[in-house]
Subunit: 169 residues, 2 copies
């Protein structure tokens, strides 16, 4: 079987290290705000929107502004630690990148929750398709949209969104 649910969680320290390394290489400064936003971003470790990140950051420093969050996320994207992602609906989300192996997304169109998965067969086949067109494959993006067990009406069915709530209690 070629599926793996989730790769190892990278530790925040190391990510902050990479971020600081990038900043000093580019002669940019580490500031309280940047560190705070990056911390919160790495800690969320999943999919987070600008709005959510701002809220989390303001919990510790209420004077953080939208612009700073945008600017910091742009920096994180430049050094490959964050990736912008726009799912079907409106909201632009960001996720950590570079740290973990590649993963794809499975999204419930009812409860909106996003799961991650990896499947080597699909990856190999993608490689083969690209080659058949004479392309070399650099990256890809795969999103599966469907209904989670709960949304399908299976009684007692598992719903990723409720799992999530349990975790955050």
């Amino acid at each position: 079987m070629h599926d793996r649910r989730q790769s190892a969680v990278p530790d925040i320290e190391s990510l902050m290290g990479q971020f600081h390394a990038y900043l000093s290489k580019k002669q940019l400064k580490s500031t309280r705000q940047r560190d705070l936003i990056a911390q919160k971003f790495f800690a969320a470790h999943g999919h987070i929107s600008i709005e959510e990140l701002l809220t989390l950051s303001r919990a510790e420093n209420p004077r953080i502004g939208y612009a700073t969050v945008y600017r910091t996320l742009k920096l994180l994207a430049e050094c490959g630690l964050a990736a912008q992602r726009r799912f079907g609906d409106g909201q632009t989300m960001y996720e950590t990148a570079g740290d973990t192996e590649h993963h794809d997304h499975l999204i419930c169109i009812e409860c909106q929750h996003v799961l991650e998965f990896q499947n080597d067969d699909i990856e190999h086949e993608q490689e083969r398709v690209a080659r058949s067109f004479g392309f070399s494959l650099v990256r890809h993006r795969l999103e599966l949209y469907g209904l989670c067990p709960r949304a399908r009406g299976i009684k007692g069915g598992w719903c990723p969104n409720e799992e999530q709530r349990k975790l955050s209690d």
Copy 2:
């Protein structure tokens, strides 16, 4: 082999017919503007942005407004004839849908051109992954980003963008 490069090109007449059927079913009206915009959209048959569609439509009727294009495209999306798509860069694109079988995208990150492909093995494997999480799969989105032969530096290499130019001459 399970790849198919491109499904049959649907004819515009039939698409317009489907559109009109949807309109009358919903007791909505066929108007000059809607027909013009839908015609241009179907004729483009590939990936087109609101902006481009407006420009094309204004070539024949300069008084067409943005709002009408947005509203018409929303109608086309409702009846499954158009699908919104946001590739990595900023621009929101629309493409014809419903006409042909499902297809995925292969995009050259150098020349930006978009090819379409289908691969049944990948589709089946996606189905399997969704089931393994207890999900029922409704739709998906797969984009492969890479370098076309020309961009890879293969001399005399084939470049989708040049093929395109040849066609439009």
